[in-house]
Symmetry: C2
Subunit: 353 residues, 2 copies
């Protein structure tokens, strides 16, 4: 039994660093060093500490470490409705990171603000947070980004093309992804491929399209103007775009949509026109959101590891914040691997009669 500490306050249940230290026969400080693995600790010591940690099933109290390290870092995650599709994964990612690093998360919702309102909101945030995560489409807002940069608050953009060299970025290679999607279709024999573009003001959209173009080009295929439509990433826009694509006299045998929502819309349009997917029309999406699996057939699409991208974003922010005092601004452009998820919405084209 441990001798009752002279504690006046109630002692909470959890096991503390002191108990670990006691069991390992070292000072709490050494335990701390082992846990954060920083500083030099002899291997043997480290081993003993680790053992004690496991023995006691010790979990550090993040509140305490955060307080002691004066790392009481507040990070804002700003979202808007349009980015809703990512939101769930994004939140999972930041939560994971938060419970690992004890940053304080501030989740803010900007509802379709104009540039002036964004500037104002950004200015307000600058005062209460130490870093900002900007998912699309906000990461492309010059107004917001400029304001944060001016306020000296590090920003990490997620899943976007690199907008400016003043902020960091975690993203996939949209160009390659778009290209792979097209190649996937071309390999299966498609030669007339329709493309529904995303919001033209977003960098990532352009890159996806460029990738598509590159694939066609490499395969020696023509890019027919009438096979490219614009959409703004909404289901409704996908409906209209698909309608235009399919009412053409010589319709495409496959459609690439710049996100899953628009791809789902394309399937819906195809069905209403009596087309079978994928027999009469192949459709692929982008993002692998829940929309990809709440249609029939389920969508072949590009998967982005959003959760771990969010996680990475927080890491980058933390580093930037720490270094901020050291004058040098830390900027990173972090590209993570994406994946092609094949489901049931692609088949070889029917032989043309």
């Amino acid at each position: 039994m441990n001798k009752p500490k002279k504690s006046i306050r109630r002692k909470s249940s959890g096991v503390t660093i002191d108990e670990v230290a006691a069991l390992a026969g070292v000072s709490p400080m050494t335990v701390s060093r082992v846990i954060n693995n920083q500083g030099k600790v002899r291997d043997a010591t480290r081993e003993r500490v680790m053992h004690a940690v496991r023995e006691l099933d010790y979990t550090p109290n993040l509140a305490a470490s955060s307080l002691a390290a004066a790392q009481h870092t507040r990070i804002a995650l700003i979202y808007t409705n349009p980015s809703g599709a990512y939101l769930r994964e994004l939140l999972l990612g930041v939560l994971r990171a938060a419970s690992r690093t004890a940053v304080q998360l501030v989740v803010d919702y900007w509802d379709e603000l104009d540039a002036e309102a964004e500037r104002k909101a950004a200015r307000g945030l600058c005062k209460r947070v130490d870093g900002v995560i900007l998912p699309p489409p906000l990461c492309e807002s010059r107004a917001a980004v400029a304001e944060f940069v001016k306020g000296g608050v590090p920003v990490v953009a997620i899943a976007s093309g690199r907008l400016s060299d003043e902020i960091s970025c975690v993203r996939i290679d949209d160009f390659r992804a778009g290209k792979e999607l097209a190649e996937h279709l071309i390999q299966r024999g498609h030669a007339r491929i329709g493309f529904i573009r995303g919001r033209t003001d977003l960098n990532a959209s352009a890159r996806r399209y460029d990738g598509f173009l590159a694939a066609l080009h490499e395969a020696g295929l023509e890019v027919a103007d009438e096979l490219v439509q614009d959409g703004d990433y909404t289901y409704r826009a996908g409906l209209a775009a698909a309608e235009k694509l399919l009412e053409h006299g010589d319709p495409p045998t496959a459609i690439i949509a710049s996100n899953d929502d628009m791809a789902a819309a394309a399937i819906s349009v195809a069905h209403r026109r009596g087309l079978d997917v994928p027999r009469d029309l192949s459709v692929v999406g982008f993002d692998d959101t829940s929309a990809a699996t709440t249609v029939w057939p389920e969508l072949t699409t590009i998967h982005q590891p959003i959760a771990s991208m969010a996680d990475t974003a927080i890491d980058i922010l933390l580093r930037s914040i720490k270094r901020r005092s050291d004058s040098a601004r830390v900027l990173m452009d972090h590209v993570v691997p994406h994946g092609l998820v094949t489901r049931d919405s692609v088949a070889a084209p029917l032989k043309r009669k």
Copy 2:
């Protein structure tokens, strides 16, 4: 200028409670009381403190308060794939609560575990968290619940029927919601209404169905057996159920699905059969998830305030945890108001020829 405190450590930038206290001319303790508005504080004093807070734009350091209050509470949010639809809102809610109360969130993912695996996972969690939030369908898992109760860890179930009187619950009134949905249809003249049930092992599903039944009964309508189908909340199941409903010789003029995914599936089936929604068939969903707006027409559905339910859940947990030492277990059954969201998927039925 303030006399340089004897601080050895670097002082972080943020404004602290002491500065507020100084400016307001009171002790930090009083500021603390005002902020958490607990304890009696004279109105004049409170006013002065509030003023100072605003003046300095003070934001409490949650890490510190959490540490001091020994509220270093870890709360687990466990989710499974099927509950994915809620997840986004759920996460927003818990994040909001977390940044308000500085609880440490532990997000855990249980992938289709069997009873034994659930028991084991629960046992493990008991040791590292002080409370658990259980969204559907996990909240109906007797195995998991029993294990947490045994471990003395308070549990709050979200959005489910009350399973046991050993755990707390935050939910909407599923019975009334189901009834309102049916009444909405009946008022518009529908007399043959199909119903796609949810997972029969979930309490909430049964209540929604009972509400439907009650509405029909009150309106003096028959419940035709062939107009009730089972589904498991997936899009695929909705497809099959709607197919059965519509292939009947005397098909319904409206379909109530127990969630949005299945309602979206019903629309898809209707379209493929050449039916116009809502002219030939009205369809309503349940939950107001993103699926409700990524179909055309957009779904009339029941909205649950998931985010604030999650928020409430954390409050309840916090109270339970605090009182836990006081022997008496705190149990609540908290019912929050839902709403009927009318969109474009409902119309009056066509006159029968």
